[in-house]
Symmetry: C2
Amino acid sequence: MRTAILTVGTEILFGQIVNTNAAWLSQQLNDLGIDVMYHYSVGDNPGRLEELIHFAFHDCDMVITTGGLGPTQDDLTKEVIAKAMGDRIVRNQQCYEELMKYYDRLGRHMTENNLKQADMPSTAVPLPNDQGTAPGFWLEKDGKIIAAMPGPPREMTNMFNKQLRPRLEKMQDSAIYYRILRAFALGESKMETMLLPLIDKQTDPTIATYAKEGECSLRIASKRPTLAEAKAAVADMEAKVLDIIGEFVYSCDDEELIEVVGRLLIEKHLTISCAESCTGGLFAGALVDIPGISAVFERGLVTYSNRAKMEELGVSAATLERFGAVSAETACEMAEGLQKKTGSDICISVTGVAGPDGGSAEKPVGLVYIGISYRGKTEAVKVQNRNVSRRWNRNYAVLNMLWQIYKRISG
Amino acid sequence: MRTAILTVGTEILFGQIVNTNAAWLSQQLNDLGIDVMYHYSVGDNPGRLEELIHFAFHDCDMVITTGGLGPTQDDLTKEVIAKAMGDRIVRNQQCYEELMKYYDRLGRHMTENNLKQADMPSTAVPLPNDQGTAPGFWLEKDGKIIAAMPGPPREMTNMFNKQLRPRLEKMQDSAIYYRILRAFALGESKMETMLLPLIDKQTDPTIATYAKEGECSLRIASKRPTLAEAKAAVADMEAKVLDIIGEFVYSCDDEELIEVVGRLLIEKHLTISCAESCTGGLFAGALVDIPGISAVFERGLVTYSNRAKMEELGVSAATLERFGAVSAETACEMAEGLQKKTGSDICISVTGVAGPDGGSAEKPVGLVYIGISYRGKTEAVKVQNRNVSRRWNRNYAVLNMLWQIYKRISG
């Protein structure tokens, strides 16, 4: 099924918002095996909107619109679709009742213009909106389909998942299933090279690799007559992939590394404390984003200055003098000092050159030492980041800290 | 000038990347007074691309394309534009020389297919690319303009600013100038109400308000025959706006609050330390993102547990018992303990209920206390966030901490 995504709204053409709806819908439709041929964005202008609908249908079987379903005078997507499809607007009884109930529940007075949201093309099937007031609709005519959804992403994604996806799945003569594996410490091109024997021979499942901020991910997808067959094919390929790059893979469900590590810490009830220099609190900040982490997260110290490293962690002046703040020795003393102070199961430290300045030939920007005390042993790990930017260097240091923890506690 | 933005690339239609190019270009064009009528995205398909160019020109005077200028077989934007405009592709000598120089400089061997990047329509004017190998071009014919730029955002924005913007500015019969004011602790609707007397009467300069994650901003724009006149009109209106909402405005140059506070701390050489509970290092992490902050940022403590609050900051067990960890009393003792420990000019603390769980009728999710020690005085500030999400609550707490600092040191 060839599809066009049509986003309606002047704020897109002003560049006030980025069109994330089109990207999100494209992912969902491609996952369903539906080909997305075009994205269009147009303002709240009836003439141009109608022309675009006709233009899309000369090449596509389906048009999905977002936006312009609200109660104000600007909102005219329904009227234009009715005209383009040779239909007319009527008040939909079901939508009218839903709308009255919605305002009753809120105890709010409904202004007259809100009633407009109960109108739709006479042959359309309403798509209820349980996140807002504007329903969407589904209209089929002469083998062409048009589906209209509201613009706010929360309303749109919810309506798609609950209303549109099941309809589209029923129309497919095959099922698509996929899993996304996520790996760390393995570049995209190296991953591709390692998996080449699998990728080369393969038409289904397909294997696609993606790079993302120092991590990379792998999408294994299969399109088969039934979902069970697609799942089996993906599981089989996943096993083969893990045989080759398993040691780098931390999730087979497209999770973030922080989610995986946070879950492991909570499940295994391993207490943790951290001492950060170059990342300046980012590691603690990421950890605290995990609900329930308070059960295991004991303490974080941002020891940015040498004085703070000495006073808070007992790093010796001699070590700082001889090896410098950015060194394996300092990282280890930071982790050990933290261990003495907190007694946490895992004590992790980090010190590095975040840039943009402060680098040298010996210690270039992007150099990071991670210290980790775990089960009575303290080790330092050296990481040399590619120096992209101060922010990137710091984020990548946090990922490396998480990876060091993951490697020790995932077994 | 009516313009369409045409993004070429299959990865957009797969939803692998969000089309930030179209949003960015829209902002720039609107700022220049150029009307953006459409965004289109299409894959690397010559037939559909050519149809879209024709479709755009039936309504627009200019089409700006991004993407499809690279060396691979997929890249066919130039060929299609040449065909659509009735032109033919030739090797451009200037581009050829630039390309040779580029590879010479890198000391890299140029493969044959790279030469394709020196080709362009015979009547096109090349737009050099100093961030990559693919030049863009500008082509005018029969009153229609087509400008082609590469897809990678860094290359595109750079080419636009250096090559396209000056050309487009010359074509305008007026100049646009604008400033963006940023305010905190003032809702968008309240700001609008306060400024209504100014907004209502005004056609030029225009005043537009935007809300963004707890902050709001105000754009004052003027379109006049000369830039000097537009600047004067904006300055005049800015003074009127500041008369009304000046106490809430922290930047007239669209800066982030963290940038403004970081700059002030460094300029005034005010040392700072922080003790965070609910934000868990986010405040320190944000501060450390400012280059040069090491001169004033002394120490950060993430005292997430009660034990950490007592051991690190000397918060008394009695206070925690009687008032709870989330209280004005605890916030003050945290800030005072930090002051004793570090002696920093500013010691700021935060404790709150980040959610999603842990809230009560008395202390609902989103409640935050900020303690601040400055010039021998310690105060607590209570903030009740609208509870949107754990992440939002924490980010908004950080903004409030920055705002408390700003109010004290900006005078």
